[in-house]
Symmetry: C2
Subunit: 359 residues, 2 copies
């Protein structure tokens, strides 16, 4: 049975009825170009096939699929933006190919199996917003055995960061305000600036270690239960001497082709197995492994930026110093679209715990 549509879900869907958010996403050319490239790269697999676009928004990816020769595209969105998407489809004489379904993937009906699922479901820190659950539901309801999911894989990374500029801007600023010592503001400044996760853009220079894989998702096999929590331990060595200000999180998604499908007996490819339990992993560079949409600090910025969890106090770390700890991400009980972040780390004999909620 379909899970109930909560007030939180309604608010979430409503937030996507404002067009500004779609404008921002479309104008994120890293995002839109990569999806478009993936669709046209797999043109030969899409032509003549049935596609479902989960969370279609304005319908742009559905139209790309129609342009790539899809026989039929089901464009599903629970937000009222679906009404306008339908008008766009009609105005472009695509209504024979693209069927807009205004509702949740749990609730709408599609009377055939689909060959391909395409979806831009990623939220901040990959899992915030929990839209991946809708992709899983669509997969389990409609995807043919051997069908294609785009993107096929997703990986959430983390790394310790130094960010003296941000720290001095928001915190040290108060130590000298027009010559006045307002240090009494510093505790409040830290709380206001660092209590919640901060979505901002950093550069590769802020990152102190190789990234650590927090979670690797295989869209073919991931389950709803698996999304409830992600836990990982990290052991990282600082590449330089610097004040450690917190941790950055980012993700990439890969548009793997049929070669990346799980084998018929359900095993994962060895590459996926290697990643399953986290650990350090370099970027795949083999183009046969498919296109990658990356939101890493060293790559061109996207509207996702990076998500930073700051500590209230910087910790000086030496070059090669071990930074170890664990992170647990949990869907919030009050609202599964929120995320609780529990971070523990030890460095130079000090252990710190930081709890925050991404709302």
């Amino acid at each position: 049975d379909a899970p109930p549509c909560t007030d939180f879900d309604v608010a979430y869907f409503q937030s996507y009825s404002h067009l500004g958010i779609h404008e921002e996403m479309i104008k994120d050319h890293v995002r839109t170009d990569t999806y478009r490239n993936a669709i046209f790269k797999y043109k030969h697999l899409i032509a003549g096939k049935v596609v479902v676009d989960v969370g279609c928004g304005t319908g742009i990816l559905s139209i790309f699929c129609a342009q790539a020769g899809a026989k039929r595209v089901y464009a599903v969105d629970a937000s009222d933006i679906a009404v306008q998407a339908n008008e766009v489809i009609n105005a472009n004489n695509l209504s024979d190919t693209v069927k807009v379904l205004h509702g949740r993937v749990e609730d709408v009906e599609i009377d055939e199996e689909v060959d391909i699922i395409i979806s831009e479901w990623m939220g901040y820190m990959l899992l915030y917003e929990s839209m991946l659950g809708s992709v899983i539901t669509a997969r389990d309801r409609w995807l043919k055995p051997g069908g294609l999911i785009l993107p096929s894989h997703a990986t959430l990374y983390m790394a310790p960061v130094t960010n003296p500029d941000r720290y001095s801007q928001s915190i040290d600023f108060w130590r000298n305000v027009y010559g006045i010592d307002m240090s009494a503001m510093v505790p409040l400044a830290k709380q206001c600036a660092f209590e919640e996760p901060s979505v901002e853009t950093i550069s590769g220079e802020n990152v102190l270690t190789w990234p650590h894989v927090v979670k690797h998702v295989d869209c073919y096999t991931v389950t709803l239960t698996e999304l409830e929590t992600a836990e990982t331990k990290f052991r990282l060595h600082s590449m330089m001497r610097a004040p450690l200000h917190g941790f950055a999180f980012w993700f990439d998604v890969e548009f793997g082709g049929p070669a990346d499908l799980p084998t018929s007996n359900g095993d994962l490819s060895s590459d996926n197995n290697n990643c399953k339990n986290g650990g350090q992993r370099k970027r795949r560079t083999n183009p046969s492994e498919g296109l990658v949409l990356s939101t890493a600090p060293e790559d061109p910025p996207t509207h996702w930026q990076q998500t930073l969890i700051y500590f209230y106090e910087p910790i000086e770390v030496e070059q090669d110093q071990l930074i170890e700890g664990s992170v647990t991400l949990t869907q919030s009980k009050e609202n599964r679209r929120f995320m609780n972040i529990h971070l523990e780390y030890t460095s130079g004999g000090r252990t710190l715990v930081k709890e925050s909620v991404m709302r």
Copy 2:
């Protein structure tokens, strides 16, 4: 009797307990420098005198007044930021001079008359947030006859504007999205972009006519009743041929000295009389008339930017064409800190009405 403190007031005060908003205001150097310059310009009037700072925030203006030699400064704020302001005062050994009062001006007690009121009370479109009411209350409760109010005068201006860039970014964008005609989105795009007043920065080049004075406020004589509504008719001539996209609003405040005080029989100076009923007015340039903090499009940008009311359709106007109409600003009944804006204008035989609410 003091008006009740509504839920809206509580929410308003709470919004100022987050430090980020104070950081932004202090870092608006046009704002902070002008206040500081005014305080030191009137050093001779402040030295040895009693000051009240209405809505003191972090206490920065109160400290400037203490530095200028004030005998005593009452720093009043209803927001919890007053707690930190008090710590800043103590840490700077100013607690003998600066008394932080945590509460509304309607509720706190000051057992002496004050010589000077200083306040940074201006909101978007000058009157949004309605903090001027608190200045009036402080004046009527505590200000000595002949006392000084800084700033002494405030003027809200409006002018028709052309802004093709903004229009094409948010609206025409949808006419060609990756080669797809998404014009079906245009009505929603207009609603999302232009339904509410938009706070943004424009330049002098966007402005089509001389500014029109919507309201001139003399802080010595303005009453609470006068703030409930402001109405003005305008007749303006376009300086160029251009698409008219809407109207911009901005303000300036003047830090007039004792020469600008109303005369003892309560008359206003002729300068104020001239402005009382609106009409076009050039900027005062006579430095004897006091310092001016301007948020005009042709002046350096501030955190107030300008407030734009856009129409859903641009209207082509010719050079020298008459643009006439009226604007009515009303405190919202549901929340006096909100503002209803009723704008009517006629140009080239077309009359349009635009209603919006600043929330």
